[in-house]
């Protein structure tokens, strides 16, 4: 049950690896892969707010990610705003889109929630791909998305950009830890477990869900800006429902609702993707098979299973020491 100690034990080696990686003389490919993992991890963490903490399957998160990317691209290229303002706009765009989606999607639950978010997301994708071509570049997308420009530091250097993304990732993780442990976090955990009971305790469940959805959209928008900045490119594919599908797979693989689950899930997904795609063109099929096997044999995901075993081990140790009966 002591999840915070488990999170610490898991987080420490991950943090050590992340901090030491640039000093091991990695290739640009390796650094870019690590940067990509952290950016997708930010997205998965944002997504898991709705999926893992509230227990709602959203197919709309690709929209928040894509809008974040486009917000940064348009802000810096079209309107000449500085990078920081572009990233802020990306967060606002993701949050605003989530707020708008919530008016339709939160009226329903379960499979209908998934379908409404899917429909809204695809609507936005089609608009970006065709009707809003003047803004989005259509299928060609918008190349030349900016990278940060702070005090003359060259963020086109892979190592420096890695440090920048690592700092943002650490800030997001810290914010998520604070939020999960706050009264707000406890209430959304309670809503997930028993919505009716939470209502009876006096919580406006709809409002809490809406705020969670907006926070999730904002984090996804930030991830979109980081992804566009890494790739220096954004196109409507980021808004496609398959992007939402990928983040669902990543989160389930790692362990939905756990602190490190989305991060480990992204890491496993991206490493497997890189390895399998170098081996066969049918890598996505094999990845799908791995995912099916993982959900059959490890339904709680990698971190969820580890956390459960850690809890059992602690209980056994406590009983052995006579601390509990």
């Amino acid at each position: 049950m002591n999840a915070s100690r488990f999170d610490l034990w898991l987080g420490l080696p991950l943090a050590a690896i992340a901090l030491l990686l640039p000093f091991t003389g990695p290739s640009d490919f390796m650094l870019n892969l690590a940067t990509l993992v952290m950016i997708w991890a930010v997205f998965a963490i944002g997504f898991d707010f709705v999926f893992g903490l509230l227990g709602m399957v959203s197919f709309g998160h690709a929209s928040f990610l894509g809008l974040g990317g486009y917000a940064l691209a348009l802000a810096t290229q079209m309107w000449g705003l500085p990078f920081c303002a572009g990233v802020s706009l990306a967060i606002v765009a993701g949050a605003l889109c989530a707020w708008l989606f919530s008016f339709f999607a939160l009226r329903v639950s379960g499979i209908f929630f998934a379908l409404v978010t899917l429909a809204l997301s695809q609507l936005l994708y089609i608009l970006a791909d065709s009707k809003l071509r003047a803004w989005t570049g259509g299928a060609d997308g918008l190349p030349g998305v900016a990278r940060p420009g702070l005090g003359g530091i060259d963020f086109f250097d892979s190592t420096l950009f890695y440090w920048y993304v690592l700092a943002v990732f650490a800030l997001v993780m810290a914010a998520v830890v604070v939020l999960r442990r706050s009264p707000f976090g406890r209430v959304i955990a309670g809503i997930r477990q028993n919505e009716t009971r939470a209502e009876q305790l006096g919580f406006d469940v709809h409002r809490y869900k809406q705020i969670t959805f907006i926070v999730s959209g904002g984090i996804s928008g930030l991830a979109g800006a980081l992804l566009a900045s890494l790739l220096m490119y954004v196109n409507p594919q980021m808004l496609h429902w398959t992007t939402s599908g990928d983040v669902i797979i990543m989160t389930l693989l790692g362990g939905a609702g756990t602190l490190w689950g989305p991060v480990i899930g992204v890491l496993a997904f991206e490493v497997l993707k890189e390895w399998l795609s170098g081996w066969t063109q049918y890598w996505y099929g094999i990845l799908g098979l791995i995912f099916i096997l993982a959900t059959l044999f490890f339904p709680k995901g990698i971190v969820g299973e580890l956390q459960e075993r850690y809890g059992q081990w602690r209980d056994k140790a406590a009983r052995r020491d006579g601390r509990i009966s």
């Binding site: 049950m1 002591n2 009264p183 209430v187 955990a189 309670g190 477990q193």
Partner: protein, 235 residues
């Protein structure tokens, strides 16, 4: 005062409560008794807004709260401890308690005070809700409700399935809660507890109030009590 005035409630097409009127003062303990399926739990659910009225009114103080949502009624200071306990199983005891404390205004009941009343919860503060025994879960459900500092506490069969020793502890706790100025509505099949605690009682049958009066008066209604006992309402 919380009250139902000529209230009727349906489950689908079936009438579960029919023209029922009950009233509970903020400083009294009122019991609702009756056989299985008489409508006791339905009455509590109706009071907190979980079931909509098809006729009549729901009143808190002088205010008509018939159209308020469940959480709006809860924020008036009405707390329900349901018969299924409904703690949050994946949260620790501490987290369950803190959820209760987030919901309402501060008051007499603090985390320290409820842990004083339920020391067993203090010993298991970092345990998961699903690691507690039935009695401990009931204590947690009551403690969590108290942390909201309710003005009126609705308890649906709080002693059901618990060991006599724990039942005695809970009776003391309810008396203590009442002394702090909280009204209590108690639904019980075991008549022993209402007879010890309640000032007034309502007897329900087939969704209607068939008798109401003080506990002392109920003792005198021998035939009615015998009927309740023969249907297994009091063991």
């Amino acid at each position: 005062m919380i009250a139902l005035e000529h209230a009727s409630v349906k489950y689908g097409h079936a009438l579960a409560l029919e023209d029922i009127s009950i009233e509970v003062g903020l400083h009294e303990i009122v019991a609702i008794v009756g056989r299985n399926g008489a409508g006791k739990s339905t009455t509590l659910k109706t009071l907190v807004g979980l079931l909509p009225l098809v006729a009549g009114r729901r009143v808190f103080g002088e205010r008509d709260i018939s159209r308020l949502s469940v959480e709006q009624i809860a924020r008036q200071g009405v707390a329900l401890v349901p018969d299924t306990r409904r703690i949050f199983p994946n949260l620790t005891v501490r987290e369950n308690l803190r959820i209760g404390a987030v919901a309402h205004q501060p008051g007499y009941w603090t985390e320290a005070r409820v842990l004083e009343v339920f020391p067993r919860l203090g010993e298991r503060i970092d345990f998961g809700g699903d690691q507690l025994s039935g009695g401990e879960q009931q204590m947690l459900a009551i403690a969590r409700a108290l942390l909201g500092n309710p003005r009126i506490l609705l308890l649906d069969e709080p002693t059901e399935g618990l060991a006599p020793l724990i039942v005695d502890q809970l009776v003391e706790v309810f008396a203590h809660v009442h002394r702090q100025g909280t009204g209590i509505v108690l639904v019980e099949q075991n008549l022993k507890v209402p007879m010890k605690l309640a000032h007034r009682q309502y007897v329900l049958d087939h969704g209607q109030v068939v008798w109401s009066g003080t506990s002392a008066e109920l003792k005198d209604q021998r035939q009615l009590v015998e009927n309740l006992i023969t249907t297994g309402a009091a063991q």
